[in-house]
Amino acid sequence: SNEAATAEVKDSLVVATTYDAKSLDPHATNDVASSNVMQQIYENLVTLDENNQVIPQLAEKFEKLDDKTYKFYLRKGVKFHNGEELKASDVKFTFERALAKGGSIKHIVGDIDPNGFEIVDDYTIIIRTKVPSTAFLPSLIHVGGGSILNEKAVKEAGDDYGMNPVGTGPFKFVSWAKGDKIVLKRNEDYYGEKPKFSELVIRAIPEATNRTIELESGGVDIAYSITPNDVSRVEENPDLKLLRKIDNSTTYLGFNCEKAPFDDERVRQAISYALDTESIVKSVFRGVGGVAIGPVAPNVNYYNANLGKPDYDVEKAKKLLAEAGYKDGFKTVLWTNDKKERIDMATIIQNQLKQIGIEVEIQVLEWSAYLEGLKQKQQDMFIVGWTCQTPDPDMALYGPFHSSMKGNNNFTFFGDEKVDELIEKGRLLEDSKERQEVYYEIQKLIREKSPWVFLNNGEQVVGVRKNVKGFTPSPFGYHKLYNVYFEDQQ
């Protein structure tokens, strides 16, 4: 049957994802599943090249006029899917809307000055930020925060815009069977290189086993999030190919740094020493992803690879614990949400911490209850992840570690003057050696202070059928599909 599938000329690409999108309104949601679809429909002013450098997309050209002012020259003749031409007014409308309604992407667009838009002409617009920020330009590549919408389409659709997305991208929205699949078709008016196939189907198949089975049987052409169990199965299957990319997510074991005993650095360090992260990651992820060594993921700019793997040293851990006054350990609670890998890690952590006398009770919370608990500072230890959604390290550091973000994204309630200062400094600096040093320093400091025990970096593991070409996984977790083609299509 596999041969039969490849024999006929394929004009439709079927992709299996883990979850259905929530909304196709970029300002309404900020989840990977939705971004995955929106990525194919919308475009941004700028985008990234292979080296994580910001390059033009809808903006032909951009200039930084001063610390806080950027000027964008729009590409002319770009048509939205509804036939409207892209104008500077759309850009202004888009960002104003994002600022007003986009609660879910506020952390991305928050720096933009709502009164700072200036339409020079139909194809030129000036955007200002409230504070100087080097992270601004990279943040524009974000799907939710940077996609350009059409004013007319948004206004016409009203509340229903999320189901009627209109972008400038290579694919147009066709239909959506909730919980099942979304169908897109090629945008025949696309200004750039058009996709090779005319239909893109994005199916939600939550069960990992089923995704692989579908891939094997040819039911889908690309399957995301192949689980560690299936890695070798896909690799060994001559009909399939496995593509991998370490992504920008970091899973960590966090401590409530304002609650005893975790307010004591030594306790945190002790736990860090007591955990054999490598073996945890190995047994939970079985070769998928990497052992996280610091707060910045490998594919994010200024990743400090010199930090080296954390030490596993039970004796040292015991010593530190004794120094902190917990010679006989203590009892504590470890929270996690109901993700299997996290539960697995928690299970092993629980076991490993026994060695230094820490008795851990695992509590699995539902995501929503979990987040609420974290905000309310009820946690002792917890396992959660953080994804840097732009290539700039500011995004990786400001939210989770700056003291002003306590209880917001800083679930550890970690606050350190030095760290704060460096983070603030880093976001002002232009890309340079100096900036690199600042970020290297921050990463080192955070390793030392240990508000987190770094567990793993996620990896995008994508299975594709052998005849699928041109697919490159993205570290952001959502992948561009318009460059993909089937072998016989060339």
Partner: protein
């Protein structure tokens, strides 16, 4: 009739009437006629013993990890193999019997006590009380049980106790209905009138005459209810509303192992079998009890 002892005694002590052991043995005697029921009873007893003596039986602790020893197929060392953490599945299943039986019995106790109470009141007093209680039960009944259990479990949060409560509450209407129906039918029997005619109080009538006679259907239903509770709990575990790790709950084990089903099918096979056999046994027993306790078959 075990009257021999009595005759001997009554010669010495004229007016002492010793109450004969209730018809417990009678029921057992009738149960013995059904092979299925005996198998069921045997397995259930075995399970209870397993649960009690889990520490003795299990060769390893339920959370003894040996990461280097993960995914070992069944062998003499690990009868049912090991899981992704190198834990002994056999031991986990042994310990799991505790959880399952606990969940089953406690959940059913909750629903029997509350449902039974509501049903008894509704049935005995009738009228407005009956109407009110039963309409409330109707409301609960019109939400499918699984969905109700899920909602309750979600609002209580995961955990063993909450799971029991969720499953327990969601079965209340069944027991209320059952008890009400039996109370209604027993209320009509002449011996209730007889009790009233000699001046017995309402309380005495309910507790001495009505409830003991409702016991048979309740026991049957409860036996099957335990099975249902275990299944539901496993189902809830499966969708992540179950029990905290590393608690070796069978449903959670099954759910956790499903990702490995293609390579290490034994990881789901044994918990699956454990659940199935338990439920099967309880069903055998329930069916047997239904027959053994059926008054129609008396004599």
């Amino acid at each position: 009739m075990s009257t021999k002892t009595l005759e001997a005694k009554s010669q010495k002590q004229e007016n002492v009437i010793k109450k004969r052991k209730s018809n417990f043995w009678e029921v057992i005697r009738r149960l013995r006629k059904s092979h299925m029921a005996m198998i069921g009873l045997f397995i259930v007893c075995l399970l209870i013993l397993t649960a009690i003596f889990a520490d003795v039986i299990a060769p390893y602790g339920y959370d003894d990890q040996e990461l280097s020893n993960a995914f070992k197929s069944p062998s003499f060392k690990h009868l049912f193999g090991t899981d992704e953490f190198g834990r002994d599945i056999f031991s986990r299943i042994i310990y799991g019997s505790r959880i399952s039986l606990e969940v089953g019995f406690i959940a059913v106790s909750i629903s029997v006590v509350i449902g039974g109470f509501l049903g008894a009141i509704a049935g005995y007093y009738g009228g407005m009380v009956d109407n009110f209680i039963m309409r409330c039960m109707d409301v609960l009944l019109s939400i499918p049980q699984i969905l109700l259990a899920i909602s309750i479990a979600a609002s209580l949060g995961p955990g063993l106790i909450n799971l029991m409560i969720a499953v327990g509450i969601s079965s209340i209407p069944q027991y209320a209905r059952l008890v009400r129906a039996s109370v209604l039918s027993i209320r009509e029997q002449e011996f209730i009138e007889a009790a009233r005619s000699v001046g017995s109080s309402d309380i005495r009538i309910i507790f001495k005459h009505i409830l003991p006679n409702c016991l048979a259907p309740i026991i049957v239903q409860a036996t099957l209810g335990v099975a249902f509770a275990i299944l539901t709990a496993a189902g809830l575990s499966f969708i992540g509303l179950g029990i905290q790790p590393p608690t070796p709950e069978w449903g959670a084990m099954l759910s956790g192992g499903r990702g490995y089903i293609r390579d290490y099918a034994y990881m789901t096979l044994f918990p699956g079998l454990a659940i199935m056999i338990t439920i099967l046994a309880l069903n055998f027993l329930g069916d047997g009890l239904r027959d053994a306790l059926d008054p129609k078959l008396k004599n």
